[in-house]
Amino acid sequence: MDKLLKLRFYKDKLFKSGIILLTLLSTVPLLLILFYIVKQGITAINWDFFINLPKPVGEKGGGILNALIGSGIIIFIASLIAIPFGAIAGLYLSEYSRDKLAYWVGLCVDVLQGIPSIVLGIIIYLWIVKPTGRFSALSGSIALAIMMLPPIIKSTEETLKLIPGTIKEASLSLGVPYYKTILRIILPMGLSGIISGSILSISRVAGETAPLLFTAFGNPFITTNILKPMSSLPLLIFNYASSPYDEWHKLAWGASFVLIMLILFLNIVTKILERRWKIQF
């Protein structure tokens, strides 16, 4: 074989090996992290873990019930705010995509998606915590809701845009008013996209700590009062991981394990739903 050709083949093989090597190395952190979380987390989990409150320093055991309930409530309220708002905004963007205003709204959605979450925490602190004089779960929910908006809006917009225009025309030509056409035909057809976008956004904010630092703030006790400070899984992990106590580290590992499993589960559900609506059209 020609010497030059040999050299080119050699370079090609070398490059490919390099690419494969670097790619494999990129996956190493994930495997390390997951492995460690599972190993440490599983040992920390028992029934007590779920139904108890954290114990004071020095005592063994304890659980993360306050964080579990807190995360649940905060995310639930955030979803109540973000999902209807986001779905309607996504509807607006898909129906009026040629309007000038729609361009700016789309731009704002993109910008909102890129805002560092700690800045959102500052904003909600200034808008709600400072005027009311107290930390509250509600303020945390509002901060999370703003973070949830862009994925929901995008997913809704995408699904609705996939619906063929001729369906709308068929309904209008039957004499059905525009708003009924949207509410009773178009929106139900886009429902699975809205749902998958919502679940995706929940999985994104479930692990967010920064926006809650100055809003929900955290709480060592269980509370269901959304006007009081409340704990959440990521807040608990942050506080306990930063502490010097082994017992608390153990709790943090357990909480990390629970959080990761939750996020994993939500991601899988999103994937299944996405496959459903992407095939439909």
């Binding site: 083949f9 494969i20 790619t23 460690y36 560092p116 525009y178 942050f238």
Partner: protein
């Protein structure tokens, strides 16, 4: 705008239907509802714009005390002393830039390789799916868990390294946080790069292959030059992501108020200072300075975001 009153008072006489005034009223209501519906859709859009503008205005207005007190010294002052109301953010600016750029440098080769791996070598099939899922998993791990893991695993490793290099073995510091940051932005960089790579027209690649080029040559001489601007945008957007990252960095950077002397020194980023000190800030100037840093973060990440997306849009169009 049709004259609804006229429509109401007109009498329709047809063979098939005689519409009485009750149905007229119903139809009038329908058209009214239509208008309300359409206007409220637009209203929701406007609310989103208002939210964004309000965020900017709030940050700016609450930064005014700090701007009045410090002026430009905010940007080049080196001393950070809340007791004497001296606030120089330079250490944090440097910390932010150092960690983000270092993270970019570390992650880019890996991200690009993975993107090429998934885009060119294994675009479909089991291998592709496995790696795609691993990358997506990496992307969904919360920042605080990255930080925690970094504390327990990375910090001792870095500490050993520092001991061997005869440097103060903090363990935490610029290097550690850059490493964790690079892992965190990698999935984002991979997905952006993959998108960009997928936009190379197959006809271009096939032309080169049919001339006898090897895969390496096609990648190096056709694909990379073609996606240059797209790659630049991808790196820019990943940088934007890194700048705003808070929790993991806060837990691993060592919380020092001095300009880091080397990558082994502890330091702080703008985000980590805010996270650490916001709830402790007493006095309105102190708080205002922290908010001003938030404003700076907001403006820079927004500009990078918009710029990056513009470049990608232009790249798609050409």
């Amino acid at each position: 705008m049709r004259n609804l009153k006229e429509a109401l008072t007109m009498r329709f006489e047809y063979k098939n239907k005689a519409i009485n005034s009750k149905e007229n009223k119903k139809l009038y209501n329908v058209l009214l509802f239509e208008k309300i519906f359409q206007k409220s859709l637009g209203l929701i859009g406007i609310i989103i714009v208002i939210i964004l503008i309000s965020i900017f205005i709030t940050l700016t207005v609450t930064s005014i005390p700090s701007i009045n007190h410090l002026g430009v010294k905010f940007l080049y002052g080196k001393a950070w002393n809340p007791v004497t109301d001296e606030y120089g953010a330079l250490p944090f600016l440097i910390g932010t830039l150092l960690t983000s750029l270092l993270a970019l440098i570390i992650s880019t080769p890996f991200a690009l390789s993975t993107a090429i791996f998934l885009g060119e070598y294994y675009p479909k099939g089991l291998v592709s799916n496995i790696f795609k899922n691993i990358i997506e998993l990496l992307a969904s791990i919360p920042s605080v868990i990255y930080g925690f893991w970094g504390m327990v695993i990375l910090v001792p490793i870095v500490r050993n390294l520092e001991l061997k290099l005869h440097v103060l073995p903090y363990g935490v510091g610029i290097l550690t946080s850059s490493v964790i940051l690079s892992i965190m932005i990698m999935p984002y960089a991979v997905s952006l790069s993959r998108q960009v790579i997928s936009m190379v027209p197959p006809a271009l690649k096939e032309g080169a292959y049919s001339l006898g080029a090897t895969r390496f040559e096609v990648i190096r001489k056709i694909i990379i030059p073609y996606i240059r601007s797209g790659l630049f945008a991808a790196i820019l957007l990943a940088l934007g992501r890194a700048l705003g990252e808070t929790m993991a960095v806060t837990m691993l950077i060592g919380n020092s108020h001095y300009i880091p002397k080397s990558i082994f020194s502890p330091g702080n980023t703008m985000a980590s200072v805010i996270a650490n000190e916001f709830t402790e800030a007493t006095g309105s100037v102190y708080l205002s300075v922290l908010i001003e840093m938030g404003l700076l973060l907001f403006v820079v990440t927004t500009l990078i975001n918009i710029l990056g997306r513009q470049i990608i849009k232009r790249f798609i169009l050409h």
